[in-house]
């Protein structure tokens, strides 16, 4: 058991140690300073020429948003086209069918918004073509989208007054050529040497030692799994995601995949400090996020490693922990750690089945997605945190009786309205969606019997989890939910759309408005945001706004289940 705890320490430690230099590197390339990866500049020029783009043209915040939304629309069209016709496209050796329109709608949105909620299983619901040219493609470009808008907000927070906040395409393309592609390549190579397939041949039929006939699915798995984690996408190649022994064959690959998914969200925190040349700001952000992360991690590791009390009562040995839905090669500790990292960070891949986790672990996973700002997804996690910072600055300003200021810019009614709308949108979407589903189910339990794999409180948690995961653009699930129905495909599709773009538009608008304001140099009366005091303030703002809104729902689901078990 100690070896298991040591393992998760090692994973966390390596992620942080790699993220610091990566953060410095990110600041360098986004600033356009000289870097050792400048040999990629010709490739980038080629891409800009292909798109007919002038990468040096400064863009206002509105122009950034238009560029972002336009290209996202193009990707949505492409994804719908591929998913609805995949059955007749090449690279389909297993002969899998095309998706139904409502499932394609859900899947296309899910991957365009970096959510990666999956209402299909890769083995039978997708083809090699759609996995590579639709799903993996979107895993690259949506991650780069998040990183690019994050840099736009960095630009807005620089000293002085600015209207132009850099070039969107420049940040977008560099994120792919200089960060996502090279690191994905490294991760993919570790995976193939550990036994993950990278092939375009069909599944293999074979007769097992005991004489059963089975077919083993495979495909171009390694390339996709690398960017799935690195881009905090989370959509698995196979139905079982990273619990699948070909997608995640060893403890080493588990560690590498887990580090990969934490890497960029962590690095962007440090990049923030380097970019603004205010490293203390990074420490504040990192401190708050890490504290929040640890508060959620502790209970999950405790309850998963201590096993299911109902099974302990039968007399069986529970020293390995709660093993339902878990794999022997990872063990309970690394599975709990993975579960929490994948929910605080909006990656949402799984290496064990969250539906079978103990109730308190399920609750901490839900809370990770409900707060959605402890590290968070690539780029967008920082944007969510930024919204909470704005609110904290405003409240602190009121408490001391001063005009609230953030880094020399006054925060006024307009910015506050946007921040509050974005912060409240999240509970609104989750709770409304869950309430409507619960109402439908309670009204006609026989018609909707296929929805829930578990009765009682846990069934409620399954519905709550689905909407939380959609709204957090996370994509993991309590997969007992029978979710490939028009209701779930369409409702979660809409929730995913709203909760991707509004939380991007809001913070970018705030940042753009702030950047245009008069810069007020720091004085003795300035509220300093790079202090521990302010960190504590942000921490509690996050808990009060994000977590408390959900308390009644959590009490009905995981908390009620916990008290029936213990």
């Amino acid at each position: 058991m100690n070896k298991d705890l040591f393992g998760i320490l090692l994973i966390f430690g390596s992620a942080v140690l790699l993220a610091i230099p990566l953060g410095r590197y990110l600041a360098t390339i986004y600033r356009g300073d000289k870097s050792w990866t400048d040999f990629l500049a010709p490739l980038e020029r080629l891409l800009f020429r292909a798109g007919g783009i002038d990468a040096n043209r400064g863009m206002t915040w509105q122009q950034h948003l238009v560029a972002l939304l336009t290209i996202n629309l193009a990707w949505f069209g492409w994804a719908m086209l591929v998913l609805c016709t995949q059955g007749s496209l090449p690279l389909n050796p297993d002969g899998n069918p095309s998706m139904s329109p409502d499932q394609a709608f859900n899947t296309a949105i899910s991957f365009v918004v970096n959510c990666n909620l999956q209402h299909y299983s890769g083995e039978s619901g997708a083809t090699y073509f759609s996995q590579v040219f639709c799903i993996m493609f979107l895993q690259f470009v949506t991650a780069a989208t998040g990183m690019a808008v994050c840099v736009v907000v960095f630009n807005a927070l620089r000293e002085g007054t600015a209207d132009k906040l850099g070039n969107y395409y420049n940040y977008f393309v560099k994120s792919i050529t200089r960060v996502l592609l090279p690191i994905s390549l490294a991760v993919a190579l570790v995976l193939v040497f550990q036994g993950t397939p990278m092939t375009f041949q069909a599944k293999v039929p074979l007769v097992t030692v005991q004489g059963d006939s089975v077919s083993v699915s495979r495909g171009p798995v390694a390339a996709m799994v690398a960017i799935k984690e690195l881009g905090t996408n989370g959509g698995g190649y196979f139905g079982a995601n990273s619990a699948h022994p070909l997608e995640n064959p060893t403890y080493l690959t588990n560690a590498v995949e887990n580090v990969a998914l934490m890497l960029i969200p962590l690095a962007l925190i440090f990049a923030f400090g380097y970019y603004l040349k205010r490293p203390k700001l990074s420490y504040m952000v990192f401190g708050v996020m890490t504290l929040g992360f640890l508060v959620l991690l502790g209970p999950a590791v405790y309850y998963e490693t201590h096993g299911n009390p109902a099974i302990a009562q039968m007399g069986a040995d529970q020293r390995l922990g709660a093993m339902e839905g878990k794999e022997i090669r990872f063990g309970a500790a690394a599975s709990a750690y993975w579960g929490i990292t994948n929910t605080v960070i909006s990656c949402g891949s799984v290496n064990s089945m969250h539906d079978s986790h103990m109730p308190i672990s399920g609750m901490t996973e839900l809370l990770g997605m409900m707060t959605n700002a402890f590290y968070g997804g690539v780029g967008v996690g920082f944007l969510n945190f930024f919204v909470f910072v704005i609110i904290a600055v405003f409240i602190s300003g009121l408490m001391v009786g001063r005009t609230p200021e953030l880094l020399g810019k006054k925060i006024e009614a307009r910015e506050m309205k946007i921040a509050i709308i974005v912060a409240l949108l999240h509970p609104l979407l989750i709770l409304t969606g869950t309430a409507m589903s619960a109402h439908l189910y309670a009204g006609n339990p026989t018609e909707y019997a296929g929805w829930l794999a578990n009765p009682g409180y846990h069934g409620f948690s399954e519905m709550l989890y689905e909407f939380t995961s959609s709204a957090a653009n996370n994509g993991s699930g309590f997969e007992g939910l029978g979710d490939n129905t028009p209701w779930w495909n369409i409702s979660t599709g809409i929730v995913m759309l709203l909760s991707r773009y509004l939380p991007i538009i809001g913070p970018v608008a705030i940042a753009g408005l702030l950047a245009r304001k008069k810069y007020i140099p720091e004085s003795a009366g300035t509220l300093r945001v790079d202090t521990a005091t302010f960190g504590v303030m942000v921490f509690f703002v996050i808990w009060i706004i994000a977590a408390l809104a959900f308390f009644p729902a959590l009490a009905l689901g995981p908390l009620a289940e916990h008290f029936t078990l213990y």
Binding site: F137, M198, V207, A226, L320, M323, F330
Partner: protein, 188 residues
């Protein structure tokens, strides 16, 4: 707006070539040097492929070390977990039944010696491993079914335990059972 959309489409096309043709081609090319040439590591016996090293398969006969319960029944083209919640009464009844069955098939074993993984389904339904205890607790039954000396079977399991500096120790069930067959072929 129209020029924006055109730019977006052209950039998308270029990115498709870079991320979806060049990148996977590179990974595929390097995979040719990896064990299994990127096809997945296959295990053959007598010139016939009997399984993948990393993909669990069903063993439920008494003369083999049994693999874990599986929600996918070890169909390696339809991986899945059970997704049963920890307090679900139907699920707990299934777990209890698995424990009772195991105790009946392995007389002399106490419930407290049965590790959790033998009565719970894995996440993928294709878990290729058991914990060392999960294999050791089956030694007496396997030895009896094959009329082998318990000590020899025990030694075989010990040989097959993979210890790791970090993370859980484990036994690959397919490799263990192949080694067992090599020691003394199963009688049909």
């Amino acid at each position: 707006m129209k020029t924006q959309l055109f730019s977006a489409l052209r950039l998308t096309l270029a990115m498709l070539v870079l991320c979806c043709v060049l990148y996977p081609a590179l990974v595929w090319a390097v995979a040719q040097l990896a064990p299994g040439q990127g096809q997945g590591v296959q295990i053959s016996r007598g010139g016939r492929v009997v399984g993948f090293a990393n993909v669990g398969q069903k063993f439920d006969r008494p003369e083999y070390f049994n693999s874990r319960p599986s929600a996918a029944d070890y169909h390696a083209d339809a991986s899945s977990g059970s997704n049963k919640g920890p307090s679900n009464p139907e699920y707990l009844a299934v777990v209890k039944a698995r424990l009772d069955t195991f105790l009946r098939q392995n007389p002399g074993v106490q419930a407290a010696d049965v590790p959790a993984e033998l009565i719970t389904a894995s996440g993928s339904g294709l878990d290729p491993h058991l914990s060392p205890q999960g294999a050791l607790v089956q030694v007496a039954r396997v030895a009896r079914a094959r009329q082998l000396d318990t000590a020899r079977v025990q030694a075989l399991v010990q040989q097959q335990i993979e210890t790791n500096p970090v993370g859980p120790d484990r036994v690959n069930v397919l490799r263990l059972n192949l080694a067992l067959d090599a020691l003394a072929p199963a009688r049909r």
